[in-house]
Amino acid sequence: AQTVTQSQPEMSVQEAETVTLSCTYDTSESDYYLFWYKQPPSRQMILVIRQEAYKQQNATENRFSVNFQKAAKSFSLKISDSQLGDAAMYFCANDMRFGAGTRLTVKP
């Protein structure tokens, strides 16, 4: 069965600093996709970044980037220059399976 694990229930970062959220997964598929979603308080979930497993290059979207380690089945999200608006729950996902989420707090 596919599983997604986020081992950090909560993380905190100072505004303008960098933070990394961890995610590991398990899949029997050889070709798959991984996602990070952001769920702000009382707002809908939106896509942050998407990674194709067959691409060796790590995906990047502005201040958001991933460190994809296929052999280790690790897919971490790095947020650079953190902003107050980054405060949210972050979910890692593979196919239709989601991790338990990491609550990110950004301190001014």
Binding site: Q44, R50, F98
Partner: protein, 115 residues
Amino acid sequence: DAMVIQNPRYQVTQFGKPVTLSCSQTLNHNVMYWYQQKSSQAPKLLFHYYDKDFNNEADTPDNFQSRRPNTSFCFLDIRSPGLGDAAMYLCATSRGLRLGTYEQYFGPGTRLTVT
């Protein structure tokens, strides 16, 4: 703007009284999903439609049913809600000839309270 809409945003129902949650989309996506999300937990997939094909998760209780009368609309029916069914229900859509390839677009959710 193309979007996923869920109605109502808040629903209160009585124990055992059937309730229906609705979802509509203007994205023309062929896949629609229903998730249950309890406080501080991961969204849990209940079922999804790939076009008209219904796909139920093995551990989704029979109490939960769904209908998709057309591409744009999808409904979640809870036949006899129990206290344990109180949760946020998320509807999502995606493109995709192959599931899991494309990102999902989520609605704002319906928060269900069971009294």
